[in-house]
């Protein structure tokens, strides 16, 4: 009863926030028609700088939006070619799914149970308890005991449990790699809910012998709150752009939530770097540096639990940002490289643009403040209107062409206010950038952080999202 009351109150609050944001957007657009812009030539240089930064960013987004959908065409073309050549031979390599867990007593059972329901049966699940102080180990052992009591013919997937006392996700994953028997290793976070077809779909991408790693399509599952919705949309954007990166082989981040690798990758470039706080980014960059191919598997759906409070989100982004800087510093030879192994597009365009993006993020709040004041004084809202149109259209395209049409209607309604929602993530990212740079300068240590978990991934929630 109390829960339902709380939920209703949350929904009402959310409704009013969205309504206010819609009204603000409508008012801004209406003011263009009601108030004629006045000519103002002040601050010409500053305006030129802002236009330059905005143009680079817009050009990047437009190119990504234009090219991204053709990755689906390329994949469909490859599949069709295989079928037409009648070369559809069985491809069933043994897969090891690594699930590192540190104090994940709430989510780990759902994650392992979802993996056990996978349609691909030629696999093992390796759960690595990374020095948990809660009931993670106990819960997993109880689950394994219960699983082992089921009839042998139903027990096609083996579940392996091991412990790693050295704290850190990198250490846990390295232990898992040592235990793993599979030809393909999949890493899944312990707070994720995996689609039953995900492992099968992952494996299909490895039919191409050139593919050495694949990154799954991670979605935020808890979209009941505004913060969850913002994260959902953010993930949607970044994973949509991965399609373009996949087409030209410039993916340099394989998130820990859903990544798959051939075993040769670890034999060639070594295991995870346990000293790096974003071991996944480090590994991905090393794979790229070795000239291997990484693809984006849009059909591998993995639902993760997004941060439920702003503090948690800030900590997460700080870790990501700091890890990215550390990785870039470690692999600086990849920037503007002339090495024949390195992808020139990545080296000369994507990575420098990523740094340029950070620079722009650093200046963005100042630019925004200037634009607001300038627009309100001169009634020239063209930059805002353009921004609203561009962001709304991008929202629309990504929601509409994401492949799954159901459950999307409510996200269409958010398209007009997407530009305002993204201010929250801009603020979080800006905060993370400043702290990361300061921490990097002061050599402060950041640990694998833990935030509040609600354990939203009951089957019901996952089905709703599916």
């Amino acid at each position: 009863m109390i829960d339902s009351l709380k939920k209703n109150k949350l929904n009402i609050n959310k409704f009013f926030v969205y309504l206010a944001l819609h009204l603000f957007t409508v008012a801004l657009i209406a003011s263009v028609f009601l108030l004629g812009p006045t000519q103002n030539e002040s601050f010409p240089r500053l305006r030129m700088v802002i236009i330059f930064f905005a143009s680079v960013l817009l050009a990047k987004y437009f190119i990504y939006m234009f090219v991204s959908p053709w990755n689906d065409v390329y994949i469909a073309y490859k599949k069709r070619k295989t079928r037409m050549n009648k070369t559809m031979i069985r491809y069933e390599p043994f897969v090891s799914v690594l699930v590192p867990a540190w104090n994940e007593e709430i989510g780990i059972i759902t994650t392992v149970e979802a993996l056990l329901k996978s349609t691909y049966k030629k696999m093992e699940i390796v759960v690595i308890n990374n020095a948990s102080t809660d009931n993670t180990g106990k819960n997993v052992l109880a689950l394994i005991e219960k699983y082992n009591k089921t009839p042998a013919e139903k027990r096609k997937i083996e579940v392996v449990y091991c412990t790693e006392n050295a704290q850190g996700k990198g250490h846990a994953l390295n232990t898992g790699i040592k235990k793993a028997k599979g030809d393909i290793l999949v890493s899944i976070d312990a707070d994720c809910f995996i689609d039953p077809k995900a492992i099968y779909n992952f494996v299909q991408h490895f039919r191409d012998p050139k593919v050495m790693a694949a990154v799954g399509n991670v979605k935020v599952g808890n979209t009941d709150t505004i913060l969850g919705t913002i994260q959902y949309l953010e993930f949607l954007f970044s994973f949509y752009f991965k399609k373009c990166d996949s087409l030209v082989n410039t993916i340099y981040i394989i998130g820990g939530a859903a990544g798959a690798f051939r075993k040769e990758v670890f034999e060639t470039i070594g295991n995870y770097n346990a000293t790096n706080i974003t071991e996944d980014i480090d590994l991905s960059v090393r794979i790229q540096a070795a000239g291997m191919k990484i693809v984006y598997a849009a059909d591998v759906l993995v639902y993760t639990e997004g941060a439920v409070c702003l503090d948690g989100l800030m900590k997460q982004r700080l870790r990501w940002k700091r890890g990215r800087f550390e990785t870039f510093a470690e692999h600086k030879d990849l920037f503007f490289s002339t090495n024949s192994k390195h992808n020139k597009l990545l080296s000369w365009f994507i990575l420098p643009l990523a740094l340029f993006g950070e620079l722009q993020l650093g200046l963005e709040l100042f630019f925004l403040a200037f634009l607001y004041v300038f627009s309100f004084l001169t009634h020239d809202y063209s930059s805002f209107i353009s921004g609203i149109i561009v962001v709304s259209s991008m929202f629309f395209i990504q929601v509409a062409f994401d492949g799954k049409v159901r459950h999307k209607l409510r996200f269409f309604l958010l398209a007009p206010i997407g530009w305002l929602l993204f201010y929250v993530s801009t603020f979080v990212e800006f905060n993370a950038l400043i702290k990361a740079l300061w921490g990097y300068y002061r050599k402060n240590e950041i640990k694998w952080q833990k935030w509040e978990r609600n354990g939203v991934f009951t089957d019901k929630v996952a089905l709703k999202n599916n």
Partner: protein
């Protein structure tokens, strides 16, 4: 050299009792070249036509289950009993010209010939049937000429057509579930690489279109069939030429709908100019037809012809909405991936042109144009993915 004797079978579908059953039966049994086999498939078990035909030799009457309604479903039942080399398919409302079978035989003597589409002619003329006949004659002559130049041109199934039995592989095993509902025999032939030929000398007579109501009903049925065929076989053609030819008829009609109904709302002067040009073209065609067929009545059909064009365009659009929107027979995802990309691409192109030509503020012009390009790219990619994923699966 003597040509080999060719056994010719006739499959007649009978859903409703024709008013002129006796003349229809007479046209079948008194052909100048007798038929070797006549198979009547009827779902109305007390059909008068069946009793009339039973008195003739070489006739077998197949009683189809009552739940089979469409012409094609009945044809499928009849085709399973066919033993001839060439099969003519028709329905009980169409009497054949007395030399129809003879001409078909002559045509099929050449190994290259595959299918013949019958040329329809109205038997009893009034003003409406004359208009209809003129329009049909012009269209079929244009198709004929066009087909000579572009043999891949897809011809929509007609009421009467003939084909070599061996061209449909496993004809006895054809199941209604496999080939969907209406008029799929020609589509099946089309898939097997045959190119149907429209011939003007194989005439069969039509008896309907006596009044406007019947005419509109007939149009509704025909266009509903065409849209269903389009919907169900959209992804079948393998080559780009086939895709183009398959869709050209539909696009042509949709463009016509646009010109007749929507263009006047946008630019009335331009639409009048177009209409005037069209009327001039029709006048020339009808004049040519009047001379060719020695039928001067054809010269008076012009106003009725234009009126019928409006009626046809209206019914075409109406059936499009009915089949694709109201009935929702295809799965939502199929509509999503077929119609939406086409409409989306068209809309993006139009918006792109509008923003390039009419938007004054530079920033907006750039943003709008780029966005239209992005939308176009996304819609095009969606369509391409759907086609790549489905065309091969549906063929196999």
């Amino acid at each position: 050299m003597f040509s080999q004797y060719m056994r010719i079978s006739l499959v007649i579908s009978c859903q409703t009792e024709p008013q002129n059953a006796q003349s229809v039966v007479a046209s079948y049994v008194s052909q100048s070249r007798p038929l070797d086999e006549i198979i009547l498939v009827s779902n109305s078990h007390s059909a008068h036509i069946a009793s009339l035909l039973k008195s003739s030799p070489k006739v077998s009457v197949v009683l189809a289950p009552k739940h089979l309604h469409t012409t094609d479903e009945l044809h499928m039942v009849g085709l399973k009993s066919v033993t001839g080399d060439v099969c003519i398919v028709t329905d009980a409302h169409n009497p054949l010209a007395f030399d129809f079978v003879k001409r078909i035989e002559a045509r099929f003597q050449s190994e290259k010939k595959h299918e013949q589409i019958g040329f329809l002619k109205n038997k009893e003329m009034n003003y409406l049937t004359l208009c209809d006949h003129t329009e049909r004659s012009i269209q079929e002559r244009i198709f004929h000429s066009f087909h000579t130049v572009f043999p891949y041109f897809y011809i929509t199934p007609s009421r009467t057509f003939a084909f070599r039995v061996r061209d449909i592989s496993g004809i006895k095993k054809l199941k209604q579930k496999k080939i969907v509902k209406d008029l799929n025999i020609l589509t099946e032939l089309f898939q097997n690489g045959s190119t149907p030929v429209c011939t003007l000398d194989t005439v069969n007579n039509a008896h309907d279109t006596q009044n406007l109501e019947v005419y509109i009903q007939g149009l509704q049925e025909a266009y509903a069939r065409e849209w269903r065929t389009f919907r169900d076989y959209f992804s079948v053609p393998r080559t780009i030429q086939n895709v183009l030819s398959f869709s050209i008829l539909y696009i042509k009609n949709l463009v016509f709908v646009g010109i007749l109904f929507f263009l006047p709302l946008v630019n009335i002067r331009f639409s009048f100019t177009l209409l005037a040009g069209y009327v001039l073209l029709i006048s020339l065609c009808t004049f040519f037809l009047a001379v060719k067929e020695k039928c001067l009545d054809a010269l008076i059909v012009l106003p009725g012809y234009i009126f019928l064009r409006y009626v046809r365009a209206y019914v075409f659009a109406e059936q499009f909405l009915k089949v694709f929107v109201v009935l929702k027979k295809p799965s939502l995802s199929r509509v999503h991936y077929t119609i939406v990309p086409i409409l989306g691409m068209t809309f993006s192109l139009v918006c792109g042109f509008v923003s390039v030509l009419y938007v004054d503020i530079f920033v907006y012009k750039v943003v709008f144009t780029l966005l239209c390009t992005v939308f176009f790219s996304n819609f095009a990619a969606q369509g391409a993915v759907y086609w790549l994923n489905n065309s091969y699966d549906r063929l196999t």
